[in-house]
């Protein structure tokens, strides 16, 4: 009796354990790090096909796996040749790209002009539905690959011509002086023939032309391992033997692991931990100004926001420094420019008085513009709690400094936020964020203030200047024209610049040569102190 009973109990417990599937799964030994390798904290990337991701986490990995035609000089923000030898044009419309000869992919396949053309065609091909599709819209033939309706009749951009193994001729639809700098974007990386046999498999195990190659499968939400490429002959050979990207769901946890010495490099220390990290890590804490900006967009299509004076009054009533100090521990930088500081053509005080906190002048301007009637709705998404924090501060400042009586919050689910803005449903100031693609004023100005913008702002002079700048004979000639356009956007103030994000980087005592720039983590340059 007793025996059967306890056996029954044991069975029942075993059933529960089995239903819990306690068996199976590997548990790597962990701990023991081989001498010349290090780990980087990362958030799970979405894709690893260069044409199909704009996630900064994917970029960190892809930057180690791929050499794009050009790289960006972090000091000047201008292009440096990488996979390309030269990018030239006489009319800014037809560009000739010469690639460096004798380079190979990680699988031994040679890198040719065709490898670039193949990758670009695949990315621009509408039915592939890759994220970076729109980066190719300036190349001739883009419209044929992305028809308004129906299937495209071709899968090749007519503007791409492979002249020989090392020469690619690119014809744009219009002159575009910024073209060389756009080639630093990951979508312009080459793909080997092997990729096109199975694009899905390639997304899981990309083969690139960079200093590192993938080592084993991408273990989702756990890790991605890369090792030094045996066949790499480019300009930035890796110093370390291998790098492990450890994937974290939360930056806070990653930071705790950095403190515990369980991960060597973190590229995104949470702002809340910045003061502590500064104390704890000393020189091993580095803050760099990135290209990401926050703005307060105004719905100019709503006639209550039609007055530029009113819009400027709102800008002058916001104490940017106080908000940055309170919400972001002073790690972000208040902005008086539409461009981030690292962009060529950035002027520290392009905005002048209109972006300086001055409650008295703001109130005077506000009254002169006739004030504001009705409810002032502030729009933002719930993607991060800090958005609500700074919007609350903005609300209080508008109440106190301008006397706006009725301010309400419109917190929108993150997945719905951009469709709201696209549909012009926002009837009040809204959070607008921009992550830079390449350091050109054009990337900011044309993308956010250009045709079909979210503010519903239209200014012909502005558009003309952008057009002139795009077709300027050289990059340097384009800058003053973009600056003039920026002046107009600031004078009209359809969107108010707020602050520039900073990336907070921290690393362990094992590493040296860490040189993280806004464009690259430069993992190839990192050496590991052994022993």
């Amino acid at each position: 009796m007793r025996v059967t009973r306890s056996r029954a109990a044991a069975l029942a417990v075993a059933a529960i354990m089995l239903s819990g599937g306690c068996g199976g799964g590997s548990s790597p030994a962990g701990g023991g790090k081989a001498a010349n390798e290090f780990s980087v904290a990362l958030t799970e990337p979405d894709h690893l096909t260069p044409g199909n991701t704009s996630s900064s986490y994917s970029l960190t990995v892809l930057d180690a796996l791929f050499d794009t035609p050009v790289a960006i000089d972090p000091a000047s923000g201008t292009p440096l040749m990488r996979a390309a030898e030269s990018v030239t044009s006489t009319d800014q419309k037809v560009w000739t790209i010469k690639f460096k000869p004798g380079r190979t992919f990680g699988n031994g396949e040679p890198v040719t002009a065709q490898s670039f053309a193949d990758a670009w065609n695949a990315t621009a091909y509408g039915p592939n539905a890759w994220t970076n599709n729109y980066y190719f819209d300036k190349i001739e033939g883009y419209d044929e690959l992305n028809p308004e309706s129906g299937e495209p009749t071709t899968d090749k951009l007519s503007g791409l011509e492979v002249v020989d193994d090392t020469t690619l001729k690119v014809t744009l639809t219009a002159p575009f002086s910024q073209f060389p700098i756009t080639l630093a974007w990951i979508a312009f990386a080459p793909m080997p023939k092997a990729a096109f046999a199975d694009l899905k498999a390639y997304d899981q195990a990309p083969i690139g032309n960079g200093p590192f190659v993938l080592d084993g499968a991408w273990e989702h939400d756990k890790q991605i391992k890369v090792k030094r490429s045996p066949s790499y002959t480019g300009d930035r050979p890796a110093k370390a033997d291998a790098v492990t990207f450890k994937i974290y769901a939360s930056r806070d946890t990653a930071y705790t692991d950095l403190r515990a010495g369980r991960v060597d490099l973190q590229l995104t220390i949470p702002p809340a931990s910045a003061p502590e990290a500064k104390k704890l890590l000393g020189d091993r804490y580095v803050a760099t100004a990135g290209g990401t900006m926050d703005y307060l967009g105004l719905p100019v299509f709503d006639k209550r926001f039609a007055s530029a004076d009113l819009r400027k009054a709102i800008s002058m009533a916001i104490d940017r420094q106080a908000i940055v100090d309170a919400v972001y521990n002073g790690t972000f930088k208040p902005m008086a420019s539409l461009l981030a500081p690292l962009v060529p053509g950035y002027r520290e005080n392009a905005c002048g008085e209109a972006c300086a906190y001055d409650p008295a002048k703001a109130k005077a301007l506000y009254d002169r513009a006739g004030g504001f009637t009705g409810t002032l709705n502030l729009w933002f998404s719930n993607a991060d709690p800090s958005y609500e924090q700074w919007m609350t501060a903005v609300a209080n400042q508008l109440k106190q400094n301008l006397g706006v009586a009725d301010v309400k919050f419109r917190k929108v689910p993150a997945s719905d936020y951009l469709s709201t803005l696209r549909a012009h449903k926002q009837d009040g100031p809204y959070r607008n964020n921009w992550v830079m693609d390449y350091p050109s004023p054009q990337n900011y100005l044309e993308s956010m203030w250009g045709e079909g913008n979210r503010m519903g702002w239209e200014n012909k002079e502005f558009l003309d200047l952008i057009g002139q700048a795009n077709s300027a004979p050289t990059f340097d000639d384009s800058i003053p024209l973009y600056q003039k356009a920026e002046d107009i956007a600031l004078a009209e103030m359809p969107m108010i610049p707020l602050w520039n994000w900073q990336d907070q980087i921290g690393y362990s005592t094992r590493l040296s040569g860490v040189n993280v720039t806004p464009y690259s983590a430069n993992l190839d340059a990192v050496s590991v102190t052994q022993g």
Partner: protein, 309 residues
């Protein structure tokens, strides 16, 4: 056995109802998941259309659900927006959550019942007061506070446990998160055991057993405790499912790539197939855990077993 089979058959309509309900709920979430994927960047209409068609997002709810169920019967659970098959994803993550929940559950069971017996036997004593005060505290403090505090103090400062991740495998990597996850249930188990034991110790059959001259150890261990455990077993059974589902926060803090973390991310991304897959799985676990509880009743209380036969 027939009883067990009967219960399993009952699970079939539950399966259909839950999958449909979950699917409808994800469907009802506002916003366009494809547009949200692109972040702040512009997306050409053509790309949007292709993506919507790929995930059947351009079709009405019933058609979408039909596509999904057809796939399920062909053994295809669909894929995430990043193109990863859901079945593969569940396979990868399933073991992590199961190990975590089981660690928490064993901790809850062993320590909870132990503390409950200790408190119940010395009712009103120092141990009893300590257990009552301690469990009240644990129930009152939110799990993320317990989690972060344990991680910083025990993991980082004292170095007793790894701070995060699954590098050390089981049990090393799962002990601390398991204890954090199990702490809430532990408090309940301890209180339930205590109350139930205190009541049973005053019951007639215990007095009879004592009067017969049985040793105290036997009276408590064999007679009083076994009866006292019936409510505890019920709770533990249901709680196993809760632990699986409630691992969201703990998995986040300790960076364990389990299904809790996944379902949280997927709800944000409105990935219907993933949410339905995971939640259906959780429902199945609830059903199985409850079945196990019912079978255990029979072991603990012969009257229930005979009534069924």
């Amino acid at each position: 056995m027939r009883y067990a089979a009967q219960r399993l058959v009952q699970a079939v309509p539950v399966f259909f109802a839950t999958t449909f309900l979950i699917y409808a709920m994800v469907f009802a979430l506002p916003g366009d998941p494809i547009l949200a994927l692109a972040g702040d960047k512009p997306v050409p209409e053509q790309v949007l259309a292709v993506m919507r068609a790929r995930y059947h997002l351009d079709e009405p709810l019933l058609v979408q659900y039909g596509h999904y169920m057809l796939g399920v019967f062909r053994g295809d659970l669909g894929e995430t927006f990043t193109g990863q098959p859901v079945s593969e994803l569940l396979q990868d993550r399933w073991g992590v959550t199961a190990r975590l929940a089981l660690t928490a559950w064993v901790f809850e069971l062993a320590v909870g019942v132990g503390l409950g017996v200790l408190a119940g036997l010395r009712r009103g004593g120092a141990a009893d007061t300590a257990v009552l005060a301690g469990t009240t505290f644990v129930i009152a403090v939110p799990v993320f506070v317990v989690g972060y505090t344990a991680q910083i103090v025990l993991g980082l400062n004292l170095g007793l446990f790894p701070t995060a991740g699954t590098d050390e495998g089981w049990p090393g990597s799962y002990l601390l998160p398991g204890m954090v996850l199990g702490s809430f249930g532990l408090a309940y188990v301890a209180r339930l055991t205590r109350t139930s034991l205190v009541e049973n110790l005053r019951a007639d059959y215990v007095r009879t057993a004592t009067a017969k001259g049985l040793a105290r150890r036997r009276v408590v261990g064999l007679h009083a405790l076994r009866n006292s455990l019936i409510p505890v077993v019920t709770y533990l059974g249901v709680d196993f499912g809760n632990l699986m589902a409630g691992a969201v926060v703990t998995e986040g803090i300790f960076n364990l790539p389990g299904i809790g973390q996944q379902v949280f991310q997927s709800i944000q991304l409105q990935e219907g197939p993933v949410v339905v897959g995971v939640v259906t799985l959780l429902v199945m676990i609830f059903i199985l855990a409850n079945l196990a509880v019912d079978l255990l009743y029979g072991v603990l209380d012969p009257r229930i077993r005979r009534a069924r036969a």
